[in-house]
Every structure is written in C-alpha cells, then in structure tokens.
C-alpha cells in the first residue's frame, strides 16, 4: 500500500466537483463577511451608543449568537423556522445563519477598532459642521478600519473553514465534497491534500488583500506610529 498516491492527488486537484465546492466556499465566505460586517457594525454601534435601549439588545445578540454553535443555528433556521411559517431555501438558510453568526464576532472586532479612534477626531468633525454620517464614513470608520484588518483576517480565515458546517443542511463546499469524494477510493490524505491546496490559495488571496488594506489604511498613520510604537524590546 502506498502512503501517498501522487497521481490521485493531482486528479483530485483538478476534479471539477471539488472545484465547484471552491466556488461555494468563496461565495458563502464573501457573502458572510460582507453581510456580517454590515450587521456587526450596526450591532457594535448599538452596543457603544451608551443608550441602554440600544446597548442591551446588542449585548444580548453578541452573547447569544457568539455563544451558540453555528451548526445548531443552521439546523434551527433550516428546520425550526418553517414550524413558525418561515421557510427559507437551503442557500438562504445557510447565508442567514452564517451572517447572523459572523455578525456577532464582527461586532466585537468593530468595537475594538472604534475604541482606538481618539475622541478629538469626532470633535474636529463637529467643529467643521460635518454631518453625523460624514463623520462616521469619512473620519472615524477609515481610522477604525486600520485596527480591524488583522482580526478581520483571523475571522475570514476562520470563516473559509466554518462554511463547511453548512453541509449539515446540504450545502456542499470544499470540505464536504472532499468527504464525499474520498468515499469512492478511501484516498483520505490525497483528497485532503487537494483541499488543503485550495484553502491555501484562498488564504493567500486574502493575505494579498490584507496587505493592500494594511498599506492603504496604515499609509498615513505609519508615518507617525511606526516611529512611536515598536517591538524593540526584543533587542537590548
């Protein structure tokens, strides 16, 4: 018995069924990140608003959706909601579950980012008679975003794999399709190796995006902070 069948690995790598799963993974991840970020931002803003009527539901949301497994959320949305007359398609269910879940994590990421923007920035906006909307979109958000990028990277990397949970409600992405494929020949390591390559490619694509984002949003700030913050404790 050979340990690793290289030809089989190459075959799996260019298997169109697996490749279709890559598309599903990408689609779910992108949708969940964008939807989760938007919803998470709203929840973070509610939580930080200082108004208990907004903050409490936001805290509850984060507690609940971050605290319960995505798998269960998906099953409940897919198979529980119809009992109450809400019947979503498989794809809708998967997207809703992923977005609701992701938003609870994003809310904390967004909150941390905004906590680091000095109050003076907002005050300067007021003094220039900028609208609340402009202050948010043009002044605070771009600065908060800088600190949100690395944890966002963690989140997206996690999500690329977490989408596999959607297989419980019959969404077949890379991981699920790998499991299905390996039933035929039991070439576990070969199939997983092919899946790993795909994941690494997707991660690397994000790394490129992240590097661009860090440069774009760190641009100006780096001029100042690069000199004031550092990890120089490593030398003496």
């Amino acid at each position: 018995m050979t340990i690793f069948n290289f030809d089989a690995f190459v075959n799996y790598l260019f298997n169109s069924f697996l490749l279709g799963g890559v598309g599903v993974t990408i689609g779910l991840t992108v949708a969940a990140v964008i939807g989760g970020l938007c919803l998470g931002m709203i929840i973070a803003l509610m939580r930080m608003s200082g108004k208990p009527l907004l903050a409490f539901p936001a805290r509850f949301y984060i507690w609940f959706f971050r605290g319960t497994p995505l798998l269960i959320q998906l099953v409940v949305i897919y198979a529980g909601l119809p009992l109450f007359g809400v019947k979503l398609s498989v794809l809708q269910s998967a997207l809703l579950g992923l977005i609701l879940n992701e938003a609870s994590y994003m809310a904390e990421i967004v909150r941390t980012g905004f906590l680091a923007v000095p109050k003076g920035q907002t005050e300067a906006g007021w003094s220039l008679n900028l609208s609340r909307r402009t202050i948010f979109w043009r002044v605070t958000l771009p600065q908060a975003f800088r600190l949100m990028v690395p944890p966002l990277g963690n989140s997206i990397n996690g999500l690329l794999k977490a989408t596999s949970l959607a297989s419980v409600i019959s969404v077949e992405e890379i991981m699920r399709r790998s499991d299905l494929l390996m039933q035929e020949q039991f070439q576990v390591l070969e199939v997983y190796a092919a899946a790993t390559i795909y994941y690494l490619i997707l991660t690397s694509l994000w790394d490129l995006v992240q590097a661009r984002l860090e440069r774009r949003f760190g641009r100006s700030v780096n001029a100042t902070t690069a000199s004031t913050t550092s990890l120089s404790f490593l030398r003496r």
């Binding site: 018995m1 075959n11 298997n15 169109s16 069924f17 279709g20 099953v75 897919y78 198979a79 529980g80 909601l81 119809p82 009992l83 019947k87 297989s167 419980v168 409600i169 019959s170 077949e172 399709r177 499991d179 299905l180 494929l181 390996m182 039933q183 035929e184 020949q185 039991f186 576990v188 390591l189």
Partner: protein, 257 residues
Amino acid sequence: QTCTPAISDDHLVEPGKLMLSINPTNPPQQYVDDKGQLQGLNVELAAEVAERLCIQIELVRMDFPAMIPAMNAGRIDGLNTGMFWNEERSKLMYTVPYSQQSISVAVLPDSDVQMAGDQDLLGKSSAVEVNSYQMAWLNKFSETAAAEGKSAIDVRSFPTASNVVAALRARQVDNAVLVDSVARDLVGRGQVKEVLSGLGKTRATLAFRDKAVADAIVTALNEMREDGSYDALFEKFSLTPLAQDEPLEIAGPGPAN
C-alpha cells in the same frame, strides 16, 4: 407524460415531487462518483421506484442530524439513507425495511489476527462510523460484556467510513467494524482483510412522514420483487435483499397521531 402520479400533491411537501434525504457517505449503498453524481443501490432504487410511481424523486443530500428536523419542518417526505430499523424509529415514522445488513470486522491485509467470534472483539479497540447501526450494536455488545465482568471494547467513532479506514491504516485501532457491504467493497480493493462477518443481522429501512407515501412505495417495491428487478438490483451491488419469506411492508405502528 402519459401516466398519472401514484401519490397526490396533498401528501407531498412539494407538489409533484417526492423529496427524500440521503447522506451519500456509504458506498456501495450511496455515495458520489468523482463528478459529484449520486451513485449506489439506494439511488438506483429511488430511480426505479420513481418510474413505477410516475413521480419525480428528488434526493436531497444532507447530514444525518438535520434529516429528522427537516422532515418535521416539511422540507422532505422521507429518508432514503440506508438507516437501520429499530422499534423506536418505527414509532416516529412510517418505516419500510427493504434490505438486510450485517456487520463485518476488518483488519489490515498484512495482519495475522484471527477471530473465532464476537468475543474476540473484547479488550480491543474498534473504529466505527458514528451514528451507524454498527456503532449501536458494538456499544450494546460492549456494555453487556462489561456488565458480565468481561473487558469492554474501546469504541472509537469517526464521521465517515473513510475516516474509519484511515484510522485503521494508521494503526490507531486494532480493527474496523463495518457494515458488510462496505467491508466487502474494501476487501475487493485489497485494502482490508475480513476476519469476522455476519454479526448483528438487521434490516435497513426507508422512512416516510406520510402513510400514503409509504403505502405507494410498498406497492412499488412489491411490484419490483414480483418482476425480479428487486433481486437484480441487490445482486448488482452485492448487497443482501430481504429473505423471500419476509414481507415488504410498513413495519411497526408508525407515528402515534
């Protein structure tokens, strides 16, 4: 289309379509080929039944834990996933047993382990597919043995048969406990050696939420048995049909209401 469907829409969750769940991780009963197409006995059986009932059957691929909630939620009409039959299940759904299964014990081809009977499993570690009949059987067997003061079995469960085989190959377990059809398949590929077979005979079953559907299926299955296509199908996949003297019918009481 010239025929009329054997099942009317008010018995179905989707008009004109029979929706059955399937978890294709169990060759040769159900699996996918390298193009992602469903294959296996249960798939062909469904196609055959569809023709006879003059109704389209859609096989919905999903994980086992979601199936019952999906049925309760009115998303599927039944399960066609090679589930084993038991009393409890027959009270929850209209179950139609249609094949025989037994359990085999497999070891690596180069192993010189010999087994005389199920008692030889005790005190060893066995890999088994989670949520499967083999697992339930193995656990019960081990508990009984332990209650009698013998050593128990170290049961390790894995999500799919391929993980079971991977664990065996890595010598993380002493043996793999598989459903007979899978074991035979693997023996055919030279990947394992069968050291015990025919343990814990049971029946695999289809299950439905609506009695009219179950009745229609029973009718179709009996037709197939009549004209020999039932046995031919099982022959093709080297699986075991129900014995001639066992009727193809709804087993157990069905849901209480």
